[in-house]
């Protein structure tokens, strides 16, 4: 069960399951290297010579949702290695963490059996994705509040329009 985030909405899509995608070591040994890789969360990307060229999909893992290493991996992939393809969260992926994931650069979410049903469906996930629309700190996605505050004199609603401009820019 895969949800893909596009244009602020989530859609169900069909795709290869995470376990069918080659692990980091296997992918590194491939010639030529494939377009998808699965990176375990104990691989410290800051210490790797990593080149995402040719990759379209990187799958990161949450063995338990409380294990947050993949948040740092996703940000590192986006902000340090400039990866622009799909970053998929797999494993223990739940609706209450989906906004954190999206802000760190995740763009798709592979859910275990039964999770969607007891999460209020796709709508439930979308609702959690919109729990907040103001963020104190910058991340991959979401403008830091201090940038909005810099747009002085405007009210919350007036600034909302500006915020979209800032976010796009």
């Amino acid at each position: 069960m895969l949800l893909k985030l596009e244009n602020e909405t989530l859609a169900r899509v069909n795709a290869e399951a995470a376990h069918e995608i080659p692990e980091f070591g296997v992918w590194q040994a491939q010639t030529p290297r494939g377009s998808a890789v699965r990176i375990a969360n104990d691989i410290n990307l800051a210490a790797e010579e990593f080149d995402p060229a040719g990759l379209e999909l990187i799958v990161l893992d949450f063995p338990k949702y409380k294990d947050g290493r993949a948040y740092t991996q996703a940000r590192t992939l986006r902000e340090r290695y400039g990866f622009t393809g799909d970053i998929r969260a797999s494993g223990d992926v739940l609706r209450d963490q989906v906004l954190f994931m999206a802000r760190c650069g995740f763009t798709s979410f592979e859910l275990a059996d039964g999770v969607l049903a007891r999460s209020g469906g796709v709508e439930g996930f979308e609702k959690s994705l919109k729990d907040f629309d103001l963020f104190y700190q910058p991340a991959v996605k979401g403008t830091a509040l201090w940038r909005l505050r810099g747009l002085s004199g405007a009210s919350l609603t007036e600034r909302d329009a500006d915020r979209r401009v800032v976010a796009a820019g």
Partner: protein
């Protein structure tokens, strides 16, 4: 103090709505307790022995009168008419129903308060010096930086599921009242050779079952690069901190396994490649936040009224002034510690009526400001000396006039087995027995500064490792026993206390403390505190004294 703008208010309101939804889903059975527990913890909701416990954030220990009155209202309406000040300057309520908590959060939001990140494996409430902005010894008020850290860390998407909890403290005075050396990150404001103010950065301090004093990884960090540097530290910790063993998951273990130098190199490497300009605040935002902490409108050298004459006439007041009143940077003003350590209550407990009294006094006499302290007391930071006697007289009938700040009865104690799910032994009744034994105020005054800290289990919430006398409760086949440590300190001379010998039974421990203190009184040199004499003589003679009892 900082006031919310419409954006801050909306974030807190959104959080209440989110938590209300999460509680509803839990009650409906859509999420399991396993899934819900971290969600409620990140909003300060624990399940203790008797009931839920809600920990409300008091950022860097600063409150106004309206907030204190709201806390009194919550205690009266949803709890048993009292709250408990914690060692991280927060307040917790011991009896709220889960289903009432969303409403309680709505009430808190009305006065710009919340319970965000008061528990969970995330960045917790930032703590500071309770005399910030009032002490003559500080370089500058550290609280604007605490507020900057508060905002940056709130719902940080990358650092909400860290290996373990993460605590940051900031101080700007040479005398460390914020215990920065026993925090995951301690920030000590200092001047460099060019006379600029910045942060000395300490990492890896902490208590718990493996206590460590923090190590300096950067002598001087320019102030405006604080957030990017913190982000680099947290990123290294989130990637490499241990997750295989909850007792080895704090950053102190990582720093000590890698060595402070190797850890610092990793942080610096991460920091070097980071887009700092995206993370660090621009000057105008730093100024905007600083503006909220401008000094209050002090009178220029106000008359001190009956301050001197009342001390001559009222010995109790004179004693209170000696111990609970502290010099202020502004002439004619003072800072006051309101002791929450009478023998009649648990250390740190405060009733609704007491909160309301303090709110009234703060509004009338203290620029609408109150502080909580990590030693579980309250502080009125800026009071005219002329008002002190009148304030003192109002406090006594409410049980807030104890003249024991910093003395043997000013004990830090965790809630212990009377409330806590993790505790092995009770802490509060022991604290009360020690207070009772040393009830005589002349005797307390003769003993001088002595910090007793009691934890009911190895998690060390009562900071026993850094007590001049630390007491750790241990369970021995279902019986309560107490192990004594000596020579610890949480201040600028931070040290971890040494365990002295076997555990003592409930019947033995108070006598043993008295023997230690008698030995100190016999052997001290002029002006020596208990801990000074201990450091001079070493543990052996004290050990002997302990078991003579």
């Amino acid at each position: 103090m900082y006031r919310y703008d419409e954006f801050d208010a909306k974030i807190v309101a959104d959080r209440v709505a989110q938590f209300r939804g999460q509680v509803a889903r839990r009650v409906e059975g859509d999420i399991t307790e396993d899934e819900f527990k971290p969600l409620r913890l990140m909003n300060g909701v624990y399940l203790q022995l008797h009931a839920y416990m809600l920990r409300v954030a008091i950022p860097y220990g600063t409150l106004n009168a309206a907030q204190l009155r709201k806390l009194a209202f919550i205690a009266r309406t949803y709890d048993k008419n009292f709250g408990h000040i914690t060692t991280r300057q927060n307040i917790q309520f011991n009896w709220p129903a889960l289903t009432d908590i969303p409403d309680i959060l709505d009430h808190l939001a009305e006065v710009e308060m919340h319970a965000i990140q008061t528990s969970g494996n995330c960045i917790r409430n930032v703590t500071s010096d309770q005399f910030a902005g009032a002490g003559a010894d500080e370089l500058e008020d550290p609280r604007p930086w605490c507020e900057i850290i508060r905002q940056w860390s709130t719902f940080h998407p990358e650092f909400s599921f860290l290996p373990r909890k993460f605590k940051i403290a900031v101080t700007a005075a040479p005398q460390d009242r914020a215990a920065v050396r026993v925090h995951d990150i301690g920030l000590h404001m200092k001047k460099n050779a060019d006379g600029e103010t910045g942060f000395e950065v300490l990492v890896g301090g902490g208590l718990g079952r493996t206590p460590y004093i923090g190590q300096v990884i950067r002598e001087f960090l320019p102030k405006d690069q604080l957030l990017s540097y913190l982000e680099a530290i947290l990123r290294v910790y989130n990637s490499l901190g241990r997750r295989d063993n909850i007792y080895k998951a704090r950053i102190k273990i990582l720093v000590n396994e890698l060595g402070a130098e190797a850890f610092r190199d990793m942080v610096e490497a991460e920091w070097a490649v980071m887009d700092k300009a995206r993370i660090d605040l621009p000057g105008d935002e730093i100024e905007r936040i600083h503006a909220y902490f401008a000094a209050p409108d002090f009178e220029n050298d106000p008359d001190t009224g009956d301050f001197d004459s009342a001390q001559g006439a009222d010995k109790g007041f004179a004693r209170w002034v000696r111990h609970n009143v502290r010099a202020h940077k502004q002439k004619g003003y003072a800072s006051v510690t309101l002791s929450l350590k009478p023998t009649t209550m648990a250390p740190g407990d405060i009733t609704s009526e007491q909160m309301e009294l303090v709110a009234d006094i703060a509004q009338t006499h203290c620029f609408d400001e109150v502080r909580t302290t990590h030693e579980q007391n309250l502080v009125l930071p800026h009071v005219r000396k002329a008002d002190l006697y009148a304030i003192y007289q109002k406090l006594a009938p409410y049980g807030l006039g104890s003249s024991n700040a910093g003395l043997v009865s000013d004990i830090i104690a965790c809630p212990g087995l009377d409330y806590c799910n993790l505790a092995n032994t009770r802490s509060i009744p022991l604290a009360q027995r020690i207070q009772k034994r040393f009830e005589d105020l002349d005797r307390q005054e003769n003993i001088g500064e002595l910090k007793i800290k009691i934890s009911g289990c190895i998690n060390a919430c009562g900071h026993h490792h850094v007590g001049h006398i630390g007491i750790l409760g241990v369970d021995k086949k279902g019986e309560e026993f107490y192990q004594v440590t000596l020579g610890g300190s949480a201040a600028e001379d931070a040290s971890i206390g040494e365990i002295v010998g076997r555990g003592l039974s409930t019947d033995e421990v108070v006598d043993a403390i008295e023997s230690l203190i008698s030995f100190y009184l016999d052997r001290r040199s002029d002006g020596e505190r208990f801990v000074d004499t201990y450091r001079r003589l070493g543990p052996d003679p004290f050990k002997e004294a302990l078991y003579v009892a």
